[in-house]
C-alpha cells in the first residue's frame, strides 16, 4: 500500500514516514504543496496525509484542487487547530479524517488503517507471544492454553504491549493508548495495572513475559 505524506516539517515528516514504513507501508514524503499535489495526481497512492500549513500551496487549497479534479482516495489531514468549526471546514473541503497536532504515532496509525480500510484483523486477528495468545476480536486471552479474565483496561494494555512485543513501551505511551490523550492521572496508574497483569499472566509460570524497564516502562518478551 502506498501513502503520500505532504508535510513541510522534516522531523514530523520523517517520523510519520519511518513509522508507517515499519508497518509495511510504502511512503513518499514531500515538503511542498505544489509538488505534493502534482505527485498525488500522477501516482496511484492509496492514501494521502496532508499538513494544512504548507509552503508553495496551502493544504486546504491542495485538498480542494485534488477533489475538484476527481481524486477519490482518502485524505488524512494534520492540523494544529482543534476547534470544531476548523475541522468542519476541513472535512467540507474534502478531507476524510484529521489528526490534531501534537499526536502520538499510535493515534495516527489507527486513523490511517481505518481510512485505508485495512482492518487490523487482516493483519492478524490473533497475537501470540511465546505461549500467550490474544484474540483481538473476542478479547480472549490464553496463557499456555488456559483462559485468563482481564478487565477492559488490562486487555488494552496487554494488547498494546503484545503489538509491540520485544520493544520497551513507555508509561506515557501506554497511558495514552489506554486512557486517551487528555489524561494526566498524576500517579503511575500503569504500574498498578501491570501488577494486576503480572498476577494474571506471569504469576503461575516460571517464564515471565512482562519485564520492567526502570524509569521507562514495560516490555513484553517471548
Amino acid at each position: 500500500m502506498r501513502v503520500l505524506v505532504i508535510e513541510d516539517d522534516p522531523t514530523v515528516g520523517e517520523f510519520v514516514k519511518r513509522g508507517l514504513e515499519e508497518q509495511r507501508w510504502t511512503v513518499d514524503l514531500v515538503a511542498d504543496g505544489v509538488e505534493g499535489e502534482a505527485l498525488a495526481r500522477s501516482q496511484p497512492y492509496d492514501l494521502v496525509i496532508l499538513d494544512l500549513r504548507l509552503p508553495g500551496r496551502p493544504g486546504p487549497e491542495v485538498l480542494r484542487n485534488l477533489r475538484a479534479r476527481g481524486f477519490e482516495r482518502p485524505v488524512l489531514v494534520l492540523t494544529a487547530q482543534d476547534a470544531v468549526d476548523a475541522k468542519v471546514e476541513t472535512l467540507r473541503a474534502g478531507a476524510d479524517d484529521y489528526v490534531t497536532k501534537p499526536f502520538a504515532f499510535e493515534e495516527l496509525l489507527a486513523r490511517v488503517e481505518a481510512l485505508a480500510r485495512r482492518p487490523r484483523a487482516l493483519a492478524s486477528p490473533r497475537i501470540a507471544v511465546a505461549d500467550l495468545e490474544i484474540d483481538l476480536d473476542s478479547h480472549q486471552v490464553r496463557r499456555a492454553g488456559q483462559a485468563i479474565e482481564l478487565t477492559p483496561k488490562e486487555f488494552l494494555v496487554l494488547e498494546y504491549l503484545a503489538r509491540h512485543a520485544g520493544r520497551v513501551m513507555s508509561r506515557t505511551l501506554i497511558t495514552e493508548y489506554a486512557w486517551g490523550y487528555h489524561f494526566d492521572p498524576g500517579t503511575n496508574i500503569v504500574d498498578v495495572l501491570i501488577t494486576h497483569l503480572r498476577k494474571k499472566i506471569d504469576a503461575a509460570h516460571d517464564r515471565k513475559l512482562i519485564t520492567t524497564v526502570r524509569g521507562v516502562g514495560y516490555v513484553l518478551k517471548g
Binding site: D9, T11, V12, E14, F15, V16, R18, G19, E22, R53, A80, Q81, D82, A83, V84, D85, K87, V88, T100, K101, P102, F103, A104, F105, T151, P152, K153, R167, V168, S170, R171, T172, L173, E176, W179, G180, Y181, H182, F183, D184, P185, G186, T187, N188, I189, D191, V192, L193, H196, V213, R214, G215, V216, G217
Partner: protein, 487 residues
Amino acid sequence: MFWSLRGRLTALAALSGAGVLLALTVILLSAERTAEERELRRRVDELATIADRLIAQGGVQRFSGVLVTADSARPQALSAATGRLLAAIPGYLIVADAARPLYISPTVADLGTRDRETLVQAVTGLFEPDRQAAFVQLEAARLYVRVRFTADTIAGVPLRIAVGMPSDGLSLVRLDGFASSLVAIPLLILGSAVIAFSVLGTGLRPLERLARQLEAIQHGRSLHRRVAIEGDAEEVDRLAETINAMLERLETSFASLRRFTADASHELKTPLTVLRATLERAMQQPNVPAEQLAALEDALANTARMADLVDSLLTLARADEGRFDLHREPVAMEPLVVEMLETATILGEAAGIAVRRLDIEPVTVLGDPDRLRQLLLNIVTNAIKYTPRGGTVSIGLERRGEQAAVTIDDTGVGIASVDVPFIFERFWRADRARSRGERGGLGLGLSIAEWIAQAHGGTITVASRIGRGTTFTVQLPLLRDGESAAS
C-alpha cells in the same frame, strides 16, 4: 415600563405639571376671591352711603323716638318717606345709636328671631372703631357686614349704619373652585402624563434607536458593526461616538485574542509535535541504553503534559470567547461510567482507597465521548487525590427526569463552603497540604470539566462538608428522540 427612563420622566412631568396647575388654580382662585370681596365691600359701602344720605336728607331730629322695636320690624317714628326710601335699599340694613338699633330693614325683620338677634349682636360688637367689617354666619345666610358712622349725630353721638350683603356666593365660589380643582388633580396628572409620555417618547427616540442597534450588535456578536450617528441629538451623538470607539477597541481586542488562539495553536503545537515525534523516534531506536531511555520517557511524559496544558488553555480561551463548539453524537453513558469505575479502582488501589459501585442505569446523552471521558476522569482523579488512605470513593449513574446524573462521592477532606464557589476557577487549588504529596497539576481540571459540562448543556453541582467528604454530581441532558449526530 414605569421604571424605564421614559416612565420615570413621565411620572415626574405629570406630578410637577399637576403641582404647577394646582398652585396656579389656588392663586387664581384667591385672586378672584379678593376681587369679589373688594366688589362686595364697594357695594356695601355704596349702600351705606346711600342710607346715610337718605337719613341726612330726612333729618336726624326726626329719629327722636325708637324707630324699631323687637316686636315690630316696621319703622314707626321714621318719616314715611325716609322709611320707604330706606326700605328700598337692598341688603340688610340696621341703623343704631350707641346702644340699640333704631331701624332695621324689612330683610332683617324677615329673618328668624335667632338670626335677627345674632345679627344685631354682631353689629353691636362691630361698633368698635377698629372693627368695621365682619362675616356673620346666620342660619339663613352668611353675611358680609360693614359699619360706618353717619355725618349727623343724635345728642352729639353719630348714628351707626350697618349694611350686610350675603357673602355665601363668595365663599361658595371659593370652596367649589377648590373642590373641583381637587377632583381635577387625577385628571390633570393623567393629562400631563399622556402628554409627557408622548413628548418623551419622541425625545428619547434617539436613545431607543441606539439601544436597538446595540442589541442587534450584541445578539449577532457582530462587533464589526457600528451604531449610526444620527446628528439629531447632541448628547446621543456623543454617546454613540463613545460607544463606537469602545466597539472599535473591543473588536480589536477580540480579534487579537482570536488571532492569538489560532496562532498559539499552531506556534505551540507544531514544536510539540516535532518534539514528540523526535522523542518517539529516539525511543524506537534499537539498543538505546536504559538511562537514556528513561530520560527520553521523562521528556515524553512532560511533552504530553505540556500538550495537554496547551490544549486546556486553548480550550478555555475559546470558552471565554463564548465558543462552545463540540462534536456531538449519541453517547451511552453506562460503559463510560464503568470505565471510570475501573480507572478509579486502579487509582484507588495505589492510594489505599476503596472504590464502590453505586447503581448504574443505562442512559444515553448527546455529546463528545472524548470530552465526556475527560470530564469524568478529571473529577474522579480529583476525588481520589483529596481522599485520605482508607477512604471510599463511590461512583454511580442514574436517570433524573430528563437528565443523566453521574455521582462521584468521596469520604475525603471536603471543601470549605467558602471555597466551593472557587473550585471551578482556573489555577485555583485547595490548601496544598490537604492533598497527598503528589504533583497536583495546574488546577485546570475542574475548570475544563465545568466547561465540558456547560458545552453539553449540563451542570456540575458540589455538596461538601469539611472532614466528611464531597459529592460531585454531573448532570447532562438525555438524548431526546429524533436527536442525532450534529455539530
